[in-house]
Symmetry: C2
Subunit: 316 residues, 2 copies
Amino acid sequence: MKSEWDIINKIRQLTGERSQDGKIAGIGDDCAAYEIGKGRYGLFSADINIEGVHFDLSYTSLFEAGYRSMSANISDIFASGGKPILTLVSLGIDSSLTEENIEALYKGIKSCCDKYNVFIAGGDISKSEKLVISIAIYGEANQYISRENAQVGDYIYLTGNTGLSKLGLELLQKGEYISDYPSAVKKHLQPEPQGTLIDIILQNFSPTAMIDISDGMLSDLGHICKESKKGFVIEGGKIPHHSEIYKFCNGEKNKMLDYSLTSGEEYELIFTSKIFNDSFNNITCIGRIIESGFFLEIDNSLREIKLTGYDHFSKK
Amino acid sequence: MKSEWDIINKIRQLTGERSQDGKIAGIGDDCAAYEIGKGRYGLFSADINIEGVHFDLSYTSLFEAGYRSMSANISDIFASGGKPILTLVSLGIDSSLTEENIEALYKGIKSCCDKYNVFIAGGDISKSEKLVISIAIYGEANQYISRENAQVGDYIYLTGNTGLSKLGLELLQKGEYISDYPSAVKKHLQPEPQGTLIDIILQNFSPTAMIDISDGMLSDLGHICKESKKGFVIEGGKIPHHSEIYKFCNGEKNKMLDYSLTSGEEYELIFTSKIFNDSFNNITCIGRIIESGFFLEIDNSLREIKLTGYDHFSKK
């Protein structure tokens, strides 16, 4: 079978990107957007998470599996500039799970929903050999932010920092040094969507394009550039690193950059803006949008880079 | 593990049936309803369909698996008195499926969407050992119809007829007489939601409660009665039977009733109304709502009946 992107492109061709009446913008963004009223948009997104593909129950608790699945969905609404409102949760459950197991899973889902004020409005449940957590979410925005409007010269901003989720995953998979890197492990098992920063971003930056980091910083910034038909330059020296990344990499610049640029499932936001503002904690300007090409500037030299991201289909 | 209903009740306790601000009515109906504007409701529903539980690929084509999964979701919107607008489709796909296989599946989904004017606005895709089709749907209504407002004395109406889906499934499972019962086989493999009757129902009957038949006529009417805290009497002689049910059962009354009362995945509608009207084809009055108890009247005698429905968890 072809890659996930090939399949999505094929589906995109079959489906079309916009409804015939023009009222619905669909596949190709974090959320689909539908004009529910004058200047008011309903935002829709869905994710499917399958045991053994998206999470490994040998080191992920059922609470965490539920929590992180919901985080990813809520993050899609923030990445489109909206507020999440309600969610539908469909579960495929192995008959060996006890009532306590199912309750733990559900409490993880609900705990994340409660934190970001999302109501669980329904869903479905089925028997399944592997645990399946399939979530659809609805939010609203007065103006939704897509991936396709980044302009040449726009500043590129990143919330927080990236790298921890990849490090956490590696440590969990090896079962090593877990207690030495609590932030990395926590970020992988129980990532948070950017609910505390989204209002600051919308009010102070008027983003031209935005995406959340699920595949990796380079890959996701690449999605913005592909949809906007632009390129980027990232300044390596501006990329913030968490102290646990510094510690694990012994401060080696290239190693730290590798974590930060490729770590997926971070749910930090990258956005572009015409406004320069470096006065907010946890919002860092890391580069600019250019006409074309993807470049990383390190020690005053420009390297052209290849975009890579995590493709669930490419790993057997 | 407990039954599907036990799990859903547990989740219902955890979640609550209505959001704190009262704006969202959630679990316990075909759709969740959210007031998106004055007198305007967004309707939300989700279903998860898993290979080997909801469909068997030994006699169901991928086109049909896609079509019937979407039918079930569109039916939920009609059952709440709404018009479907957009859908999110999440697929779990076995890596052995070819591009043509995935296209066939997707064409089944899209063919049903096109017929009922639903836009595929997004979704997700993942690797999976078993095929998973997880669908969320959004529709709108000026007034949504729940299951909980049936009143004593209301007439009970059924669209079309029931029984064919169960007969079709049995023939397909045995691989017998398939060409002799084309309507039964078609109704099982490619059922249709009631898109042509819903406007007639809304305009002429002002339904007090409505549900679509996914578990079986008795079971689903039972859901209305449970949520409305009422009972029902069905007149056995009024229940319409398709000619293929008559033929297969050799006109034996009890056998025909058994098919009609218990056949699931029909996607016919049952609704209650204060209005008596027998002038529409394919809308039949089959009984009345009473204070309590569930009764079937046959040959002038009343039998008290036990409600049964299909529980995916109870079958191993």
